[in-house]
Symmetry: C2
Subunit: 383 residues, 2 copies
Amino acid sequence: MSSAKQKGEKTMRFLHTADWHIGKTLNDFSLLEDQQAAFTQIERIAQQAQVDAIVVAGDLYDRSVPSEAAVTELNGMLRQLNLNDHFPVLAISGNHDSAVRLSTGTDWFARSSLYLNTTLAAAFTPVTIKDTQFFLLPFFGIQAVRNYFHDDHIKNVNDAMERIVAEMKKSFAAGKHQVLVAHFFAAGSQRTADSETLIEVGGLSAVSTAVLAPFDYVALGHLHNRKALNEERVKYSGSPLKFSVSEAHQEKGVWLVDTEPFAVQWVPLQPVHDITLLKGSFRELVTSAKDKPATDFYDIELTDRERIPDVLNKLRTVYPKIVSLHRTHQARQLALNRQKQRLAASPLDLLSDFYSQTTGSKLSSEQRRWAEEALIKTTKEEQ
Amino acid sequence: MSSAKQKGEKTMRFLHTADWHIGKTLNDFSLLEDQQAAFTQIERIAQQAQVDAIVVAGDLYDRSVPSEAAVTELNGMLRQLNLNDHFPVLAISGNHDSAVRLSTGTDWFARSSLYLNTTLAAAFTPVTIKDTQFFLLPFFGIQAVRNYFHDDHIKNVNDAMERIVAEMKKSFAAGKHQVLVAHFFAAGSQRTADSETLIEVGGLSAVSTAVLAPFDYVALGHLHNRKALNEERVKYSGSPLKFSVSEAHQEKGVWLVDTEPFAVQWVPLQPVHDITLLKGSFRELVTSAKDKPATDFYDIELTDRERIPDVLNKLRTVYPKIVSLHRTHQARQLALNRQKQRLAASPLDLLSDFYSQTTGSKLSSEQRRWAEEALIKTTKEEQ
């Protein structure tokens, strides 16, 4: 499928994006211009591909109480897509959004096919567009699911999703495709084509992709890396731009999804200001600055051993938007970095890290599989 | 005109309310239940009088960032009036609202005749319903008006309103009535029927009602007392409930306005929990408590001269919702009260107070008139 490819008469083609985080800042640098530029590209992709709907899978805002600038920005984007371009929009609240605040206007929005769902109760009534039923499931807490089903036996998010999916299935219409739009941490056990290693083993509060099998496609939000899952029909779109140094190497973009015949296509987005990791001595960094865009964001690793007075401000004269500066040779800094990495790691990574540090060798693929199974059991028994 | 009276075919009948302040608390007591009850009465009045529109003249919320409970409440009220009851609603942002936050959804709202204007620019395009053009002017800062007209000669809010009204007049349609919905401090120089004293002399940043003469009716919000003005066609509706002890003696309600022939009718609202001022000794107050609704709000003036240990908590056992407690015989308290009254007083009251304290006699009506003229001059010369 390409953007130019003719679409079938009956098939539904939609664009899948998520995690806009409007209002987010990167070390106090506003990203509104970057977010606006990404939005404009998304709009153009939708127009060129003649999509029948645009899916935004949660975290529209970065904060439950967004700034006035962020409110203006998101209001303008939704207005543009829905009222000006006449795209149906299918959106949900994410964990960063205040479901209540985001719900303002929803009853009016639906009259022009802007479906913004913020409540669990409304997730079970699908929105049907052409050949497809969309189930819009906002980010939820487990207690809300227990309350909804009057069932205290729901122990974790995986149990919760099993109940939710079973309930949704009651509304599945024969002859229609079913798409779930949701915002949570999902974990599969798929292998990549070229490797024996598992891509993802699931944190303690992950939804197993197996639960999501009844859907023709699951449009997820939450993780900012579209490669977080390697499933054919359960996908994260990732965020439309890099929101942290840890995302520096990720390609950002959107999915175009056709329902009949099923096809997905990745369309990358071009950042206005990239995030680049630089490593070198002060002298090298200053010298190479002329080849680097001054308006980009930089994460800098300084390799000098000696102390350079006021180094951050000196570097800022050539790299105005430094989002982090650290030193290769600084014991305390190194320790902090290691701790930071550990905090961001998954349970399996931690276990694997511990194993290699204590034994000097890596986990075998069989050992990794055992560890994974044990972790999944733990998840199932979690409160 | 009565609620039961038949309405003309062509005439517009609308309900005028303002200053809902959803989310406001009274000394940490939630007023949501009271606000909901007032709303239900307003809805019923609108239904019984078969109004063609409901005007809400600003301060829908109490704060620029309302609580989630307040958001739920206001969203529900607007949904009920507009989507369920199918009333056109004409509303503006007040000084307590964040114009930007309140603007969320407005472009969708207008499609079902919920006209919520939050920008100066949109105030010059009237909304026409039946025989009437409604100009929706949100609360504005003077600088915004200077910017809009590219005119730095606008010195005060009265100048600003002269320019705004002149601009609005360009859109007046022949054969239509014109109603202004606005949120500011207006001051007239009308006399009451039974007294020589002026009702209001105008603070330093008041709009003279003379500027508003081109309109058939001006539906104001800002002041919570509907008697703040005594004009036939320029009216504050006041707030739908008492929001402070200083409003304890005010009757709350809404105006019903007919355009052809012009008529206004005051319809009072019944509070669920009234605010009552009580004065007496501890013993008297405790004894009389059995005759007073325990769920009302009380402002208590204690006349005892001796110290009563833990008196507030003792009184709370019989009056659970005490919003203020003060003592007749407490020098410091008296001084504070006097200072408080002074802060709340108008310039003329202050002058009159000063005169009587220094000369021992009251201002004559002629002296008051001189003082008033001088104050109005000061207003006109104000930056």
